[in-house]
Chain length 360, copies 2
Amino acid sequence: MTRVFNFSPGPATLPEPVLRKAAQEMLDWHGSGMSVMEMSHRGKQFISIYDEAQALARELLAVPANYKVLFMQGGAIGENAIVPMNLIGKTGKADYVLTGDWSQRSFKEAQTFGTINIAATGEGDKFRSIPKQSTWKLDPQASYVHICSNETIGGVEYHWTPDTGSVPLVADMSSNLMSRPLDVSKYGLIYAGAQKNMGPSGLTIVIVRDDLLGHALPITPSAFNYQLQAEADSMFNTPPTYAIYIAGLVFNHIKAQGGLAAMQVHNEAKAAVLYDFLDESKFFYNSVAREDRSLMNVPFKLKDESLDEAFLQGAADKGMIQLKGHRISGGMRASIYNAMPIEGVKALVAYMKDFEVRHG
Amino acid sequence: MTRVFNFSPGPATLPEPVLRKAAQEMLDWHGSGMSVMEMSHRGKQFISIYDEAQALARELLAVPANYKVLFMQGGAIGENAIVPMNLIGKTGKADYVLTGDWSQRSFKEAQTFGTINIAATGEGDKFRSIPKQSTWKLDPQASYVHICSNETIGGVEYHWTPDTGSVPLVADMSSNLMSRPLDVSKYGLIYAGAQKNMGPSGLTIVIVRDDLLGHALPITPSAFNYQLQAEADSMFNTPPTYAIYIAGLVFNHIKAQGGLAAMQVHNEAKAAVLYDFLDESKFFYNSVAREDRSLMNVPFKLKDESLDEAFLQGAADKGMIQLKGHRISGGMRASIYNAMPIEGVKALVAYMKDFEVRHG
């Protein structure tokens, strides 16, 4: 068995020890005589798995006591509607900050549910930078301010936390939650699909401050009503049990590696290897403003785009896959989430150097 | 390793060969160097897994060409809102037939989205039978008629297909889809959580006739808009990839066993073992009308309820678990979906006979 270096933007590579444990436990979890997939979500075995995943998520992220951590379904694209359904009822208005494709999609979806103001947009800079907070036009009557903390396609990431005063800050953190320490208390709500740094697709993590519960619009489906899910410990409907189990294994693995502070060191080191090379290369380039570069998703291009296919084929031949950029942006993209080892990034850079010498 | 007989109502027992294959392929699917969990949903490997699951679902259920099969998220409780959001817009009205807890929940949720008529209810008979179609009061102006084809708590199941004329019939088949052959053409829409007969929780199957697409209310979240999902081959948002893979393995297993006709024979034989014993017993009983008894979920009670705990403990000691009835109904319940072997049902009946002798 040869494992590849998988640079997929998500679903994405997972820690090998997690997969080994999942394989070992597949037919018989801890002597229960069952796979986790087969367990009633109301049974004592799954409840213990759920409680551990919940406790580890809270511990790793240092979630304050006045926040709920919900395990839901529908992904970030689902949340693009579920967030306004649950939160916009207070004033009927919300502010959105546009920094690329994902925040634009969030903005479009929210317009169905209220009056949405663009507080700031990076469009004038082709989304190659995050608009400085001094330029934001915030509405003090907004029910919340929405940001996307990391844009997987454009490769921009917030390395600072916006100050929205008494208006709750809502962040789509699908692609960087659990990649570094976080001050949850600065946010009203955080949501994330699990399939980047936390587990399989089909699981959505929602972290919500207690005072934001209970304001859902009447048309909110019960399964997506935060208050009903909070009251039911995420079991208002049957939760995605196996995905929660895998996320728990990933959280345990992160903790054993030293927690989110260790993840940050690891992720900064990996990103530096790649960005340092890109900045020196005459053959490859990245266009994002240095202070806003993503540590998770590194888009880059070849100056000679006619070599794109040869580059991807050569990478695949060396066991490095999913490097093709999103169809919107073209070029290449290396997604280097928590579970990508630094050896993978070093192998990629060695290949890029060699490719440059051979074709330069 | 000793595997238990798991009578859980869902998530439920899965075929052991499926779990063995999933364990074997966990770190390296077909030489790809990746777990299925790690695959981009846009990559060729996962597309092949998706296509096979889709083709097998269509083959097993003989789905006509003018129906889409969607792989979604949110479960049947999510669909309780998603169905009216997508379908009720035509006339603003819908008919619901109440046969127990699940259809009652569907009815309550739908009321948010339009005018809901109770076409028939089994409440007068304490939901121990399915109301005969001759008693149904159908509204020809309804956008659809909703039924629950099998009530997991009460243990009643339709063994006939309602005729709703030109009004589309919508069925929640969470607990009996894939348990027997089905004439899909008699339905406008079928939905089911996967976690009974098809796979892990977190995956929802929706089978929808083409002419019902395109009528969603404006407040329908894009991720739950059937038309958008149909146009995107269920990838408008990232689908629950691993759950789809497991469902595909289950579908393959069903096909190898002889398809849905074989499942029906197998399920009828299992149910007969249990119901025949219950009908003869002076100690245990089932209260459902014979012609409406569920082949999937068999609720039963001890005449002396003070022995309930002893019964459950004795069963657990013999490796038979999750026999406790739902809190709404009390008593016991044996869920005997496709993957429950007849040996499990025979072992349960042998234990029940012995318990009756010892305590009778």
